[in-house]
Amino acid sequence: MISNLAVLPIVIPLIAGVLAALFHKKLKVVRIYSQVLTLINTAVVTYILFYVHQNGSVVLESGDWMAPFGIVLVADMLSVALVLTTNIVAIACVFYAPKSLDEKQEEFYFYTFYFLLITGVSGAFITGDLFNLFVFFEVLLMASYGLIVLGGGKVQLRESIKYVLINLFSSMLFVTTIAFLYSVVGTVNMAQIAERVGEVEQTGILTTIAIMLFFVFGTKAALFPLYYWLPRPYIAPNPVISALFGALLTKVGVYSLIRVFSLIFVHERDVTHEFFVWIAALTLIFGAIGALSTNNIKLVVAYNIIPAVGFMLLGIGVYNSTGFTGAIYYLINDMIIKAALFLLVGAIAYLAGTSDLRKMRGLIHHYPLLGWLFFISAFVLAGIPPFSGFIGKLILLQGAMEANHIVVAIIGLASSLLILLSVIRIFIRGFWGEKDESIIPDKKAARGFALPVAFLLFFSVLLGVGAEWFYPSIEGIGEYLMNPQNYIESVLKE
């Protein structure tokens, strides 16, 4: 009975999304309905997190099919913590949406797609079955295809083609990889795969499959050299949709990497994990350079997704419990701060009437609150104390030092400086400077934009200042990931 908890974060948004389609034209109703349902879902997830924290993982064998045969849903601390973060981002986005989207876009099933996206993301976090992970990837991608074309402008359609193509291709690669894996180990249940891979000590063919899976998830998570598709499609749609994409989609890829390379393919670390550390270093360098290369403020933020993913991959690559703790802390921090930044630059671009940095100046005279919120976000992103980005980076680099990857740790520090430069440039050029008299300030809109962002930044500050409260639990997840046996036993119950 209590195991049914695991399915709630998937079922609630799914039903909510389907019902939202029934009255999609009644905007007032559907807005309040979506906001309330998102809050309810968050409350439920918070309860599940609390429950899992107290009693350990909740495993649901759907349809009462026993573990290795049916599809299992595994709500352990890692997945539930990420689902909760997803829902926090969702709250900010659903309250921001009415201010940012025009009514036509909202009517065209925005809220349905939004809920389906949450369904897909939560499902991908919770599922304990590799093929089911593919299915949930498709659910969230389908919803994202719907969102990215919303509005149907020239640029948007052009960029969404590229987005759909790259994702379709990597999904097909994913299916092929699962077929390979199935032919070798004869199962798609993650716990059982882990057990069997452990028994045969990861032979050459399994390492090859591991690298193929890495390419699949690397494409979704935007790692070097597979990130080229990411920045432009992400800035094409409305800011609230960009925020959902930037905060959630690549992070599902990162989560899959964490899961697969902490649970299943851990026996040939000289090949796989060593390779990840260097890919992480390259991702850090190229992402930071990309962020400096442009004057389009939206593109700056979109490029900043890439070095963040590099940091998390570094945590996976060093393979010690400090590394995992840091990766998870940074992952949670990054989901929140990327959403906040996308919402902020969306607001700035809307209020300044352009997203070209060279054409804006002195915005802080008109919008002081937005300016300071942006200032704080820039600090969180770059990892300056006392904010959450600092704690995450600190633990990550500590993990890298423990594993004697000093060069990569230095690259991480240097790229943090470049990241700080890339975002503070927006603050200096866009907010400082002479007052632009030609702008007629829209205070009401600015306040509407600022509230959801402030809500997100509250969590960033909380995760930073209150690190002592959260650190033990997240450290617990790090240690849990280092012992795959825990996961296997909780699913297969031997």
Binding site: M142, G152, R158, L165, M172, R232, D356
Partner: protein, 112 residues
């Protein structure tokens, strides 16, 4: 039999990738369709091909086909069918709006 099927899947993949690298949008979509066919065929092959055996596992039955790959393929076919149809509509609208279906001309500039 498995070897022949694997080679066929490989041929589908190569032709698919070749088409994917073309400039014309419709060719690209045909490329993705070929790749998904290759992937589906590959799942079937990986579950071992057997003729004349039912996908039932009961006590006493020795000869049975593996039901799992069939379930996987069915799911995967439905998904790729949906995505392909969406992609066709998307390509049609994008080429109408932008006035070209040549991917080289759909690059875009920094500030649009």
């Amino acid at each position: 039999m498995e070897i022949i099927m694997s080679i066929l899947a490989g041929v589908l993949f190569t032709t698919g990738v070749y088409n994917l690298l073309q400039k014309q949008m419709l060719r690209i979509i045909i490329g993705t369709a070929l790749i998904s066919h290759g992937a589906h065929l590959f799942i079937l092959t990986m579950g071992e091909l057997k003729r004349g055996a039912p996908p039932i596992l009961e006590d006493g039955i020795e000869n049975y086909a593996d039901p799992l790959p069939q379930a996987l393929i069915l799911t995967s076919i439905v998904i790729s069918f949906g995505v392909t149809s969406l992609l066709l509509v998307l390509a049609y609208r994008a080429s109408k709006e932008n006035g070209t279906d040549n991917m080289d001309k759909l690059r875009g500039s920094e500030n649009d």
